[in-house]
């Protein structure tokens, strides 16, 4: 990817295959109208795109990379097969596909990989994560190149809700969201409900950060005046192979970082709570990396 011009990387990442170039314009078949004649063109200096056949995008046709990923997401969501989505939801430990639909998970029309939208503080879709197989066989969540990391689940954000949960990774966020949507408080604890209005989700926002080490200061604005619950993973301390020193586990370290940022930036939440898996921030009785989803879906 590094040998591809910077402005073209998002397009290539999402499956556009460029063929010819003339001056600064590179052309490909259009991902939206699927014309094979290279009428889809991207300027490799500005990153602006345009299809001279279907004129997708803004009112004038075409747009920038954000317009592209938003349109890409819309069309992919429209064409995602519900059975496949349900199957994928089960694979991720969810009871059904509803949380995935609500979080905007869909299958890319070009690459066939799962897409998860990321939003900025203004709740605009600003990146599109791909859940793809890495060369080492593991599944990875990669953001659109050059668009950096953003929050997932913010499409559902409501300013009226007083509670916010911060989770690590989209699957944790969706698992929590599913439970909050289908549970309500009662004298016997949390019990099932079919009414979204009376559910725990009616009072709570949930969003996911891509990993414990990724949290930008601009995101803190979401915490102001709210009860903030930070729920990162139970990562065991690890030994630095070079120095032999024992380093704090990632989840606890990330939690500390967010709390310190809250203090440092003068953001005033109503309350801050952190998920404390154990006295040292992790549960030694469970494997490292044990998370919210594991706890809820498999105990």
């Amino acid at each position: 990817m590094s040998d591809i011009p910077e402005k073209l990387r998002p397009y290539v990442f999402h499956g556009v295959r460029f063929r010819a170039s003339k001056n600064n314009e590179v052309s490909a078949s259009c991902p939206f109208c699927d014309r094979e004649d290279g009428k889809f063109s991207v300027n490799q200096v500005t990153g602006q795109w345009r299809c001279f056949v279907c004129a997708e995008g803004t009112a004038k046709g075409g747009g920038n990379v954000y317009t592209f990923i938003r349109r890409m997401h819309e069309i992919s969501a429209e064409h995602t097969d519900s059975h496949e989505l349900t199957e994928f939801a089960h694979n991720r430990g969810l009871l059904d596909a509803v949380p995935m639909v609500e979080w905007g998970v869909c299958k890319s029309i070009l690459t066939g990989s799962w897409l998860i939208p990321g939003y900025n503080v203004q709740k605009h879709l600003t990146t599109l994560y791909q859940y793809i197989k890495h060369s080492d066989g593991s599944m990875k969540l990669l953001p659109t190149p050059t668009l950096r990391h953003h929050m997932m689940g913010l499409g559902l954000w409501s300013d009226d809700k007083p509670v916010v949960y911060v989770c690590e990774g989209p699957w944790d966020g969706m698992a929590l969201w599913e439970c909050l949507c289908r549970g309500k408080n009662s004298p016997d604890g949390i019990v099932e409900t079919a009414s979204r209005a009376s559910s725990l989700a009616s009072q709570a926002n949930v969003f996911s950060i891509p990993g414990w080490g990724t949290f930008f200061e601009s995101w803190l604005a979401l915490f102001s005046g709210r009860i903030v619950n930070i729920m990162l993973d139970s990562d065991h301390p690890r030994k630095n192979l070079k120095t032999g020193r024992v380093m704090t586990g990632g989840g606890w370290k990330g939690t500390e970082r967010i709390v310190r940022m809250v203090c440092d930036k003068g953001i005033v939440p109503q309350e801050v709570n952190v998920l404390t898996w154990g006295p040292e921030g992790f549960d030694p009785g469970r494997k490292s990396g044990y998370d919210l989803r594991d706890y809820v879906t498999s105990g």
Partner: protein, 454 residues
């Protein structure tokens, strides 16, 4: 339209999923694990150290950027890479500066560093990053002297020497310092502080005596800083060069990033807070640098004790020191009457630098990578006409005539003869039997090969 539209039916059986009721019970248990954050997190970064600067040595209570916890060099460098066009020179410079600051409180010779590079090469950004750790790093743009005869009502010592006790002094604009009218006085005071004993008396009955003051000094500027020669304070400093010359392609790349950065900057207003004075990535890198320096200083002893040092490394540092002592020797005003410095101080500094570098780079021992960085400092400190000359002569076992050398080294004939005669006096070069060709003394040539080819 879309290419991968599928209507595939589920092929796998629905896996056994935990029932909702059990999930909700688990959720209740999970929410019970939510607790207020530990108190120590709420007292400021890295153990409540921030804010300390306001009480240090009378430094004004300017708002300081909050430190970020950082315990690994790789994490720090990753942040810098995001913030600016990173280069090997900047990497080495940062690690050397961190090593110098980290070692401030240790016994022995101190690591005073001259950071040399062309304008806008990143020196100031690195220094500003270190200066976020205000407990350990004092950034001062102008220096009028280390001592002060000013007398406050409560008798408080407001001199710079007192302010920087146990800290690193960072001077961003070393070139301006060279123009100071009392440069010799400043350097003399600096020399005394390096030697850890400094005294002065003023006519208003103020007597100052500083013994055992430990401090390190980072002096940044262009190659003009080399003017501080060994007759003044130069012999106390080691040099690290950020970049030799401005590579055209590198400059283009930096320029492109700078233009993009500036275009992004025009989308934000600074609200006056320290963090908002820089682009977000740079602010993060700076805060991490301060956090890492804080970590190094707080744990300095424990970290340094964990580093293994082989006898070979010590031997190599010995060679480094001796080599630099030869290379840094300068002829006196009469052209010949000068002795080279004794190498002991340099050997100590290089050994100290090697161990401190290992700590900074999170190494258990002084390995090849650490030695390579020390070697760069050795070469940077040794730069000058002598090194240029030796580089030419070392490849000519038969020697070379003066006229050829003047052309190869771009010096005048007179200066070259004077230089060669001086080098002969300190045992670096010799002439052949006909006194026509100059060559490197074999013993020194061996030392040069061992050092220059690390």
């Amino acid at each position: 339209m879309p290419k991968l539209q599928t209507t595939k039916q589920p092929t796998q059986q629905t896996p056994r999923l935990r029932p909702l009721a059990a999930r909700l019970t688990a959720l209740g248990n999970l929410l019970a694990l939510l607790q207020p954050p530990p108190t120590k997190w709420l007292t400021g970064a890295t153990g409540g150290l921030t804010g300390y600067a306001a009480t240090v040595g009378g430094v004004s209570e300017a708002p300081s950027m909050r430190l970020r916890t950082c315990e690994e060099y790789s994490e720090l460098i990753a942040a810098w890479r995001k913030a600016m066009k990173w280069s090997e020179g900047l990497d080495t410079t940062l690690s050397v500066m961190l090593a110098s600051s980290m070692s401030t409180q240790f016994l022995g010779e101190q690591l005073w560093i001259k950071v040399i590079g062309p304008p806008s090469c990143g020196k100031t950004s690195l220094m500003e990053g270190l200066a976020t750790a205000r407990k350990w790093y004092l950034s001062k743009d102008t220096i009028r002297g280390f001592h002060s005869g000013f007398k406050t009502e409560d008798g408080k010592d407001v001199s710079l020497a007192q302010m920087v006790k146990g800290m690193t002094l960072g001077t961003k604009d070393g070139d301006t310092l060279l123009k100071a009218p009392n440069l010799k006085q400043i350097l003399a005071e600096g020399r005394a502080l390096y030697d850890k004993v400094s005294r002065t008396n003023y006519r208003n009955d103020v007597n100052r005596e500083y013994t055992g003051h430990r401090m390190t000094w980072h002096l940044a500027g262009t190659s003009a800083l080399r003017e501080i020669d060994d007759s003044e304070l130069g012999a106390r400093f080691l040099d690290v060069v950020v970049m030799d010359k401005i590579e055209d392609e590198f400059e283009d790349e930096v320029g492109w990033r700078a233009a993009q950065q500036e275009a992004r900057n025009m989308l934000h207003l600074s609200d006056g807070k320290p963090e908002s004075q820089h682009p977000e990535e740079l602010a993060i890198a700076m805060a991490l640098t301060g956090g890492y320096l804080d970590f190094l200083r707080v744990n300095a002893l424990e970290l340094a004790q964990a580093v293994r040092v082989d006898a070979q490394v010590l031997e190599q540092c010995n060679k480094f020191g001796k080599f630099t002592a030869f290379m840094r020797a300068r002829a006196g005003r009469d052209g010949e009457n000068a002795e080279r410095e004794f190498s002991a101080r340099l050997v100590k500094q290089y050994t100290r630098l090697a161990i401190s570098q290992a700590v900074v780079l999170n190494k258990e021992e002084v390995d090849e990578e650490v030695l390579a960085r020390v070697h760069k400092v050795v070469i940077d400190t040794s730069r000058g006409h002598t090194l240029d000359l030796i580089r030419v002569l070392s490849n000519m076992p038969q020697g070379c005539e003066v006229r050829a050398l003047t052309m190869l080294c771009n010096q005048t004939d007179d200066k070259m003869r004077l230089h060669l005669r001086f080098l002969r006096r300190i045992g670096v070069v010799e002439t052949d039997v006909n006194h026509r060709r100059w060559r490197v003394v074999p013993r020194f040539n061996k030392l040069y090969k061992e050092v220059d080819h690390v």
